[in-house]
Symmetry: C2
Subunit: 505 residues, 2 copies
């Protein structure tokens, strides 16, 4: 980021402070990555304290007088800067974050970080033991802390707004509920229509897939998507995730189950979508608050675009499926590409969100959003969550988990305090279809390229339109810039209708 | 650490600040560990900046007015505390470190940390390419920075004193040179005596040792020494090392070469010796500056005790060697324990310090100490190091490396700025023999226990005498407390004479 800084030592100083905050935050990110990938079991409590401390130090710098004064002075000069320059965008983001950070007391930051660090370890144990009661007290503390957090931003239109704002700047709960109402109606109707048809045969996907061969194939799929191995790595963890230590060190994880190849492959492609977005951010934004994806929904639009719209398409499979056949000939040599394509696009209500198909995924999200709001508003207690989960699952998807591992304990999010996060998954689905629609218009031979295993043109287009900007622009601005429209559920619903009516005749 | 703190909020505050420093330092330790074990290749420069920042922040806190005032006030109360209490010892260490840190400007800390981070990456590349010229500019900067560092402590008796003091509190260069003079004379004479005899047959150790089987055997050897897997992990890196993220997360690394089993095994046992020392520190010292080993020489005494005095003894091999035979029957089924024992204790001047035997190890150290002092005193230039290395190697060991990979580029230490570190290796050898002599007196059935594969009694004895104290006591105090004498080369020389005259008849 060069724009104004040579001329302005105060702006340089401000950026240096951002660098300090960046280093503390990314050190914490590495501690967290390590916690999920490498950390020995007895170190959980210590690690939680270490992460909490780094978060607190970052928060203290971010709310310091020096930083506040520099920021105020520089913000007053912002109107002199070119509106889309790095510096202009940086100051806008810093100002927004600063005003938010000021509302949050140091003690809260430390307590939240420590509680979530501890809760993560408890969640892991509770999940292993299928024992929600073990996790309940920690989860109650987290919901209390999140309620407290919302109150720092009072008055608000909705208790959920300040939580959502952390993940999706500028988005209001009312807007999410409006979009979800449309989705709920149309997607539920479509699901019913589809479920009445004969499903494709997914038994052809059954087999025993040796972990070491799966591992090689997940690496191959990451390479095919365009993951830059010089600037990232792939590991294993219970719950796949992506983390950025810096723009030259973007890490993804996957999980491998010997009885399920599809899970490892598509989890990897999903995380790869996140990673190549981060790896594609302009190098001059590295180590600055702009050097990360614009929001979770924008991020998810990229993971879902590569995982589903590309990864589960006939075009992409034209190249990818033969590699799968080569790795596991005993299972797939007798299975045609067309049958494989239909099988991996089976619509089947399932208990686990991360394994769910495109048709039902958003319904999982609605369930979580409703539960989060109900607990926050104290309409139900944390202790009611397992039952409420079961009843909503039955309601939306017609199935009920037999245990809490497949129910309320399945996701890591609440354990890490990430309440307000789930809606971004569904919004990501919608945005992915909007962006895909635009890309397909701009790149007339995209379909042919993907059939040839060539992902470069699409990646370059995304790089130009989206990746390189990091978080210079707000999510709503980006969606508008790229697609010419605000977030809109119609392209996604159209995509679902076209794809699944064809597969299900 | 409970002693006084309930009664004294200022002492609590001081400890809380120590916690901040600890968290920054250990976050940096994890970033460094990750750099050597996991980091993608393009991230070196970014990582160096991140580590530099954390080191700088820690240094700023450690030299802050609040910290200084609290420390001064608490130090004035120290005489009221029981002399060996945790608080008494903590204040003593803090005071010493504070007075040292005050002399070092922030800019120096940042520059040193950044330069060494960068130099590490350059060293790795230079080593891979056997290209000392590539490394030379970085090494010159490091020696310049170290000279500058010594000057912060002027006046000093010796330019090397302030560097040595960082690793070995209280030890003077003059004392090291005095001890080394004795060693040089006696150890060189002993080496000549031994080299005139017929060597044991070490060809019996040759073979091809599959990496995965070696990996399992290194883990088994770590378990046998008593490594606590719940509170640590083992990984692979170019140069084996131990790092402590906290007392519940102590990590060791090893390296595996398919043509050399002994290297992996004894590197692992060596690092294990470091690790069980750290894992044995009293839990109440965790996350405090006392929660680490007393000094590098004391640390090395433990790694060398387990690696050599225990690990390469007939007693230990009575249990351990059958496991080696089970893992690699094709190589060892026809080799007797006695022949294996003699082979792994072959005296053979070698180019690589870490692979060198007990008889020649200290000579490698003398070489490095002399070169460090000569460069610091500008009696030779950094560009002269490769030649100077070759000539001293010929002088001490009668061999000359054909390339710099086996010469001046072999060790990571200078790349990380650790000048002043090497003498602690030789001192560690001496102390290991002093401690072993005492342990053998206190534990009359030690020999029998080791023959039974029982390492608990020795570990418990070490825990009681040494491990649990962390760095409550200065190295010289500890050696005196445990052995009743100051650092003394005689027990080590006696150990060498007894052991090698017997092996070599």
């Amino acid at each position: 980021m060069t724009d104004q800084s040579e001329a302005n030592p105060k702006l340089n100083r401000l950026k240096a402070i951002c660098g300090e905050i960046y280093d503390l935050n990314t050190a914490a990110a590495l501690l967290e990555w390590d916690q999920q990938v490498n950390m020995p079991p007895a170190a959980g409590q210590d690690r939680a304290m270490q992460i909490a401390r780094l978060n607190l130090l970052a928060h203290q710098i971010e709310t310091s007088t020096e930083y506040g004064e520099l920021l105020e002075e520089m913000t007053s000069l912002r109107h002199q800067m070119p509106p889309e320059s790095d510096d202009f965008c940086l100051l806008r983001v810093l100002q927004r974050n600063y005003l938010r950070a000021l509302r949050i007391p140091d003690e809260y930051v430390e307590e939240f970080s420590r509680e979530t660090g501890t809760a993560f370890n408890i969640w892991e144990k509770a999940r292993a033991a299928d024992d929600f009661a073990m996790f309940r007290p920690a989860l109650e503390r987290i919901f209390n802390l999140r309620r407290q957090y919302s109150e720092f931003f009072a008055p608000h239109d909705h208790i959920y707004d300040p939580l959502l704002e952390d993940f999706e700047p500028g988005l209001k709960t009312a807007e999410v509920l409006r979009i979800f109402a449309i989705l709920r109606e149309e997607q539920t109707a479509l699901l019913q229509e589809i479920m009445a048809k004969t499903p494709p045969d997914s038994q052809i996907l059954a087999g025993n897939f040796a972990a070491d061969k799966q591992w090689l194939l997940t690496k191959e799929s990451a390479s095919l998507i365009g993951f830059d191995w010089k600037r990232g790595r792939l590991d294993k963890s219970t719950h796949p995730f992506t983390t950025t230590i810096n723009l030259n060190d973007v890490r993804i994880t996957t999980h491998i189950h010997e009885n399920n190849l599809i899970s490892a492959l598509y989890s990897t492609i999903h995380e790869c979508g996140h990673a190549i977005y981060e790896q594609g951010i302009a190098p001059e934004l590295n180590r600055s608050p702009l050097g990360t994806g614009a929001s979770l929904a924008i991020h998810e639009s990229q993971s879902r675009l590569w995982e589903n719209i590309v990864g589960r398409s006939r075009d992409f499979l034209t190249t990818f499926y033969p590699r799968i056949q080569t790795a596991f000939p005993e299972t797939f040599n007798t299975v045609s590409l067309e049958n494989f394509y239909r099988a991996i696009n089976l619509v089947c209500p399932s208990l686990i969100r991360t394994e769910s198909d495109e048709m039902t995924y958003n319904l999982h999200i609605m369930l979580r959003l409703e539960l989060e709001i109900e607990v926050l508003e104290k309409r139900i207690a944390v202790s009611d969550l397992p039952d409420a989960w079961r009843s909503k699952m039955q309601n939306y998807l017609g199935i009920t988990p037999n245990n809490d591992v497949d129910g309320v304990l399945q996701d890591v999010h609440w354990a890490t305090g990430a309440i307000g996060y789930f809606p971004t998954y569904a919004l990501g689905n919608l945005i992915s279809a909007q962006i895909w629609q635009t890309a397909s218009r701009d790149l007339p031979d995209l379909s042919q390229q993907l059939r040839n295993g060539n992902t470069v043109a699409l990646r370059n287009w995304l790089h130009e339109k989206l990746y390189r900007h990091g978080s210079k622009f707000y999510p709503s601005e980006l969606v508008q810039k790229i697609t010419g429209s605000p977030i809109d559920p119609k392209p996604y619903l159209d995509y679902l209708k076209n794809k699944y009516r064809e597969i299900y005749n």
